[in-house]
């Protein structure tokens, strides 16, 4: 049974926005989200009733993110969360450093990490999106997570770690 599109937006809106923010950065994520759901709404009547809706949305979001990057191609690397608000709060500063670390990942690693760890896409499907093999997609995600762990570890070692569990 196919749900009304309203339910699709309510159920998957957060995940698509997280993926867009991770892949594109905060500034362009809104446009990618809007383009994604508008295109999805257009195609929705033809989507098979048993399709994996979230995977389908991430596929559309992937393409729309590429379009948004092309449209704003002056920017070499994505803008991370809260770029212009220096924070003295340790947790917030730490958070910012991590989103910056995500933004600094090579594009394929960032995409593989976002699609797998935020959207739960299997590597076989990520491989289709990234035009590579499942093994390469898995490696890209693993390399990305390893890089994020290094920045996380570096951060907790160089600053007081008492508020991290």
């Amino acid at each position: 049974m196919k749900q009304p599109f309203e339910k699709v937006v309510v159920q998957h809106g957060s995940t698509v926005l997280r993926v867009a923010r991770a892949v594109l950065g905060h500034a362009d994520a809104d446009d990618a989200w809007s383009d994604t759901f508008l295109a999805a709404m257009k195609a929705y009547p033809d989507l098979p009733a048993d399709a994996n809706v979230e995977a389908w949305l991430v596929t559309i979001a992937h393409r729309k993110a590429i379009d948004v990057v092309r449209a704003t191609s002056r920017r070499a690397t994505p803008v991370p969360d809260t770029p212009d608000r220096p924070s003295h709060d340790h947790a917030e500063g730490h958070h910012r450093e991590l989103t910056e670390a995500v933004a600094a990942l090579p594009t394929k690693q960032r995409q593989a990490v976002a699609y797998h760890y935020l959207a739960g896409l299997p590597y076989a499907e990520i491989a289709t999106l990234l035009d590579s093999s499942a093994a390469a997609a898995r490696r890209a995600a693993a390399d990305g997570i390893a890089a994020l762990r290094r920045s996380y570890t570096h951060d907790t070692e160089t600053e007081s770690a008492d508020d991290h569990r």
Binding site: M1, P4, F5, L17, S34, Y44, I145
Partner: protein
Amino acid sequence: MTTVDLAALYPIDDDDLTRLHARLATAAERDDLLDVAYRTVDSPVGSLLIAATPAGLVRVAFTIEGHDAVLQHLSDRISPRLLHAPARLDAVAQQLDEYFSGRRHGFDVPLDWQLSKGFRRTVLEHLALDIEYGTTASYGTLARLSGSPKAVRAVGTTCATNPIPVVVPCHRVVRADGALGGYRGGPAAKLILLDLEGAA
């Protein structure tokens, strides 16, 4: 071992989703993709779900019908391109508000009759036109008005399944013996509406 909780790294604010949803509804309307728009309005007969196609008001639903079930039905019958999009329903919502506060005795909004076919549609159109605010008619009278005096039972079914209650005033149709008869919103809602109109 240190794990990276990515989802926590991108916290989503409800305000952001509300804003993006509204932007989507506007864009969908602009691109002719919004096949069904809906919203809810508070009323003396409970929360009403109201839904409109580009052609007009297509459904008014009572809480006891289950709003989720009603949305699913609209999605199946009309189109799954269905969004919470209040703007298209501004006029209907305002007129309902005026009606429930006693300042309005008739509705002036376009209606989409696609959920009522054939004889049922004939019955409901007569109901909307011929039975005025503050009056009641029997099922038999409405059957006569609809041109099929013997179809009293069919008229009863039609009223019980009226997709646009309140606006198409099936609450004004009662049994010949003076009993209320059934109502999609329940007998209490029917009584409240007749009471409001001073017809009870």
